[in-house]
């Protein structure tokens, strides 16, 4: 199912988002895109050009945009909110709660520019806690795709799923790791690599870096069991317990705070069902800053080397 990461082609999730939704609007005529004046960043502009009658510019007013989407959902549309994750989740958190999540309306919230790599915008635009906020929201489904092929299937699944959904997207091109045989199923985790020494559980594009870490560790003779968790909620708890039981040691990896995101969700699950020694790789309860991508990943501890080092440390315990 997986391609070799070294020669993998690169795709930006934001471009795949704009293109795929434009195509899906032919099949699902009720799709609308609501933009918070960031379409040429989030690449909702691709949709605006291809489906101009289904594109609604809502201005720099996220709270109103969320409410308008809720109203559109009540009359049968499938509104996709498009803005940065930092704003979609926090700027309009109470609106998500009261008019989307509580009534369970069919609003799809896409959070672009999530995580550390936001094109040198700095801490205001880097979303470090969006997964934690959204997964704490009752009725909300939370999906964090790893690459373009997976995102294409996630967007289709979003149209088929009746209810609120948060889809976390990223800005920069990232390696394609899944091929045509890959099948995304909402609520299911997927074993990317089998091994018996240590388990790495990852989500989003951090799965790509986790995969690189796995390849490094295998060079050292360490067998890695890599579980990719695209659906943070509902969480595939069974797959997580099985993956943990394979090796007895778990590293989690995400481009998000280690508090309340994937690492938190895995710790909650294992703590109740299969206590397992863990290390969480992610933002260590800090905000970010602007800078080149490589420097940011290094400083905030998100590179494949950091994931691999966490695994080595856990194995040494």
């Amino acid at each position: 199912m997986m391609l070799d990461i070294k020669d993998a082609k690169q795709e930006a999730l934001r471009v795949v988002f704009g293109e795929t939704l434009s195509d899906l609007a032919e099949e699902f005529p009720d799709i609308l895109v609501l933009d918070g004046d960031l379409a040429n960043s989030t690449r909702a502009d691709i949709f605006a050009e291809r489906q101009p009658d289904k594109f609604l510019e809502m201005g720099i007013a996220e709270q109103n945009m969320m409410g308008a989407a809720a109203g559109l959902a009540t009359v049968g549309f499938i509104p996709f909110i498009s803005t940065f994750a930092a704003f979609a989740v926090k700027r309009s958190a109470d609106q998500v709660r009261v008019v989307v999540a509580q009534p369970g309306l069919n609003v799809k919230i896409t959070g672009g520019y999530s995580g550390l790599l936001t094109g040198k915008t700095g801490k205001t635009h880097q979303s470090v806690e969006d997964i934690a906020v959204m997964r704490a929201m009752p009725n909300m489904t939370v999906v964090v795709p790893a690459d373009g092929p997976e995102l294409r299937q996630v967007l289709r699944a979003a149209c088929l799923h009746d209810g609120p959904m948060y889809i976390r997207l990223t800005r920069d091109p990232s390696p394609v790791i899944f091929d045509d045989s890959y099948s995304f199923v909402l609520g299911k985790a997927v074993v990317v690599r089998e091994g018996s020494d240590i388990t790495i559980i990852s989500t989003g594009v951090q799965t790509v870096r986790a995969l690189e870490a796995a390849l490094m560790l295998e060079q050292e003779g360490i067998g890695v069991h890599l579980l990719h968790v695209p659906t943070i909620k509902p969480l595939d708890e069974r797959a997580i317990v099985e993956a943990a039981a394979r090796t007895g040691r778990v590293v989690t990896a995400e481009d998000h705070s280690i508090l309340g995101g994937l690492g938190g969700a895995v710790a909650e699950t294992l703590g109740e069902q299969h206590p397992t020694i863990m290390k969480r790789v992610g933002w260590r309860d800090t905000f970010g800053e602007s800078g080149p991508d490589d420097a940011l990943l290094e400083k905030y501890g998100l590179t494949p080397h950091h994931v691999a080092q966490a695994a080595r440390e856990l194995l040494a315990r």
Binding site: M58, G67, G71, L72, T74, D94, Q95
Partner: protein, 306 residues
């Protein structure tokens, strides 16, 4: 002739389906049911529901194209009560209009009730949007109005706002966007009662109005955002109906009706008293309130003549 056309003729005194004195009687019944339900629940809000009772009755009995026996009728006019703490006012109006039995009003705020403290669209058919966190209702109204336009439908969307909640920034986000899309199929009704839960204390403990109390100043605020505005006495049934007619007839802008009202209207000791925003009457106060509202019995059954 449908109700909308009837209203659009603009006859005063006998507009719509019911004579003015019958609408006025219904508004008194709605107010009485609010007081009864809050007394029964031993909790809830009264000042706001009483200030908007005439606005709700006029809308539900004379303007909205709705089917109480088919609350989710897809072509219906939409209504959002943005000031969700006035829920019991809406429930009492819906019961009077035949959505459910008035007796159910006595389950207000009870566990498992369809009549939640703030309106919950997942519980009670006839609620077009959940509300309660203030300042949020106009935005879903924009979605419903845009939805009508995109689908080529003729339903009209109405949103009841409180003046207190207009302190929320989202109201003005929505005001801008509604005007930007020229949503003339969207009407806001502002229950301009000039009091809120706590408000701004004056030197002698009285409450000073949050806004310039002159409705013209409030109209100017909305006109600056690109809205068509109408001012009306929110307790004059004929004038309210006329304002609704003007809103439906206006083209090219969303309309806001600035309805000057008195918080706690209809009950002397609640009128204009901010303390009655959310306060439970004693048994003696209940009796006095119902008496002032022209109700001869304390129970809902006793007065449920139809």
């Amino acid at each position: 002739m449908n109700v909308k056309d009837h209203i659009a003729q603009g006859k005063s005194g006998q507009t719509g389906q019911l004579p003015i004195d019958e609408l006025t009687r219904l508004a008194a019944q709605v107010r009485a049911d609010c007081v009864r339900a809050v007394f029964q629940a031993q909790g809830g809000h009264l000042g706001g529901p009483l200030s908007c009772a005439d606005l709700l009755v006029a809308l539900y009995f004379d303007v909205l194209s709705i089917r109480p026996d088919e609350p989710n009728w897809p072509e219906r006019d939409r209504f959002i009560i943005s000031k969700g703490h006035s829920a019991i006012g809406l429930y009492s109006t819906l019961a009077a209009r035949g959505y459910f039995e008035r007796q159910e009003l006595l389950t207000f705020d009870a566990i498992d009730s369809r009549l939640q403290g703030h309106p919950d669209m997942t519980r009670l058919p006839g609620i077009d949007m959940s509300s309660g966190s203030l300042g949020q209702g106009l935005s879903p109204g924009i979605g419903m109005a845009l939805g009508a336009r995109l689908r080529g439908k003729s339903w009209h969307t109405w949103v009841l706002l409180g003046d207190g909640e207009c302190q929320e920034g989202q109201i003005w986000e929505a005001a801008f966007v509604a005007a930007r899309y020229k949503l003339d199929n969207l009407t806001a009704i502002l229950d301009f009662n000039r009091l809120q839960q706590y408000g701004w204390p004056g030197a002698n403990g009285e409450r000073t109005p949050p806004w310039d109390p002159d409705p013209a100043a409030m109209e100017a605020r909305w006109r600056a955002f690109g809205w068509h505005t109408v001012s009306v006495d929110g307790h004059n049934m004929a004038a309210i109906l006329d304002a609704y007619r003007q809103a439906l007839a206006h083209r090219g802008h969303p309309t806001i009706i600035v309805a000057s009202t008195i918080k706690g209207k209809g009950v002397s000791f609640m009128s204009g008293a901010y303390e009655w925003h959310a306060k439970v009457p004693t048994a003696a106060e209940l009796e006095q309130a119902l008496s002032e509202l022209g109700q001869t019995q304390n129970g809902i059954d006793d007065d449920a003549g139809h």
